[in-house]
């Protein structure tokens, strides 16, 4: 064994990093990588050997009929659902793994739920400041300052001392987005973020998400808002019956006429 410390540092050049440095898409660019992911609920198979990748900085919208596995896929990525076969790698952390691995993934992955799930017994400020304090050990003052900054960014700064029940649905969802961002995640997952909202509040939430797209945040968005998907996504994934039936950039996605299931879905929702 002659390789000393010096020799080691010189030869540290794995195939992946070489490829990445040349700008070739490779595994190293994938922040999320699901391989042959299968999830069953008794006799029902929610995910059938799904292969799903998300590159750093990419915005992926997942669409499709209800019960197609969209939410299950999202919830599996941050360990809210377990899976039966396959593997997930998020930012280098692999599942199935230890409990610690699941927690590490959750800290890197922000999640926004359809039903907001804000903590009703805490002020808006506390909702946003809690996780940085408890999961990252950030001091109270800094966590509060961070909360105020993020709430200003999503346009809720004047409601900071109110309780969630005093806010409209759109405002609550914007708080939920700020709460997820407070952990400074590398990826944001949105599970039908506008589905529980009245029509007039959908646009204010989409506007916040749109601004996030502008910052280069990696995002996976399960949505029924096809107009939004067309405009914001780098890639649209169509899921049906637990499989990814079609995935393509928006222009090609909407021009797709070969997949009958997608055509049937689009004819119903457009």
């Amino acid at each position: 064994m002659s390789a000393g410390v010096d020799g080691f540092s010189v030869s540290d050049s794995s195939p992946a990093t070489r490829e990445a440095s040349q700008g070739v898409p490779s595994a190293a660019d994938d922040i999320i990588r699901c391989d042959a992911l299968t999830r069953r609920y008794g006799a029902f198979t929610a995910l059938r050997a799904i292969d799903f990748r998300v590159r750093r900085g990419e915005v992926v919208c997942v669409v499709g009929p209800s019960g197609g596995g969209k939410s299950t896929l999202l919830r599996t990525i941050n360990g809210l659902e377990s899976f039966d076969e396959g593997s997930i790698v998020v930012d280098g952390i692999r599942l199935p793994g230890s409990r610690g691995d699941v927690i590490r993934i959750r800290r890197e992955v922000g999640m926004v739920f359809q039903s907001f799930n804000l903590f009703p017994h805490m002020t808006v400020r506390r909702n946003v400041a809690l996780a940085p304090m408890r999961a990252r050990g950030v001091g109270r003052d800094e966590a509060n300052a961070r909360a105020e900054r993020l709430l200003r960014r999503v346009g809720i700064a004047d409601q900071i001392d109110k309780y969630p029940e005093q806010l409209s649905g759109g405002q609550q969802q914007r708080v939920a987005i700020a709460r997820a961002l407070a952990m400074e995640p590398r990826v944001m997952l949105f599970d039908e973020p506008t589905s529980a909202l009245d029509a007039e509040m959908v646009s204010e939430v989409l506007q916040v998400i749109r601004e996030l797209v502008g910052t280069g945040m990696t995002m996976v968005i399960v949505t029924h808002e096809l107009g939004f998907a067309r405009e914001a996504a780098d890639r649209i994934v169509f899921m049906e019956s637990g499989t990814i039936a079609v995935e393509a950039p928006p222009r090609q996605f909407f021009a797709n006429t070969t997949d009958s299931r997608l055509a049937s879905f689009l004819s119903k929702v457009l």
């Binding site: 941050n78 959750r106 800290r107 739920f113 903590f119 996780a131 999961a135």
Partner: protein, 222 residues
């Protein structure tokens, strides 16, 4: 037939009656204190869903809720000594049986309160990477406790009412005192009217509190 309601007999025996109220309150407080601890342990046992503690907790709750409190009290007072070889004082026997009784009811109330916290709350905390301990301490339990309060007050009133049974094993609480003094004066009507008023005075404020809290909760959860 003529009956004269003699209020002076109540006034004359107020010291005895107040001594009884005092012991009733003490008995209720001890039983609720110990019962709360027992209830928490049994609640955790049942929430675990399997294992020895779960089995013991389920058996305890089911048995206690299926037996009259009087039987439990008599059993501990009269049969306990045959097994344990020491006789508990009547107060200790009453407090023990009432604690067991309160614990069984409270276990179910605690469990129901925790299960009533929406799953989305736990999921949101987990998705943020908040450690399990903080998820319980700051997200689940504060919400569960609020929902438990009306039912908890219900158990408090139940235990106040049940405490009268302790007179049967010689605890000198309110019913016991009333029995003694009315036995001397033959003024059962007056004295047990007074007993009723004392119990009502203990329980009614609690009922009001529970009602008010239920309205608050109804408004919050919409």
């Amino acid at each position: 037939m003529h009956f004269h309601f003699d209020t002076t007999v109540i006034v004359r025996h107020l010291p005895e009656l107040f001594a009884g109220v005092e012991l009733t309150v003490l008995l209720v407080m001890v039983s609720l204190g110990v019962g709360t601890v027992l209830g928490m342990i049994a609640c955790i046992g049942k929430l675990l869903g399997r294992g020895l503690l779960c089995w013991i907790a389920s058996a305890y709750v089911t048995v206690m809720r299926g037996i009259p409190e009087m039987v439990v009290m008599f059993w501990i007072y009269y049969c306990g000594p045959l097994i344990l070889d020491t006789r508990l004082s009547s107060f200790a026997a009453a407090a023990t049986s009432m604690s067991l009784y309160a614990g069984a009811f409270l276990a179910e109330i605690f469990r129901a309160g925790i299960l009533a916290v929406p799953r989305g709350q736990t999921e949101a905390a987990r998705a943020l990477g908040v450690p399990e301990l903080f998820t319980w301490a700051e997200v689940i339990l504060p919400q569960a406790l609020r929902m438990m309060i009306p039912a908890f007050i219900g158990v408090v009133t139940l235990i106040v009412k049940v405490s009268g049974l302790a007179s049967a094993i010689g605890v000198a609480e309110l019913v016991y005192q009333a029995n003694i003094v009315s036995g001397q004066s033959y003024r059962y009507f007056e004295l047990f009217t007074a007993v009723g008023i004392f119990y009502f005075a203990l329980i009614f404020p609690l009922s009001l509190l529970a009602q008010r809290y239920e309205r608050v909760l109804a408004r919050r959860t919409r």
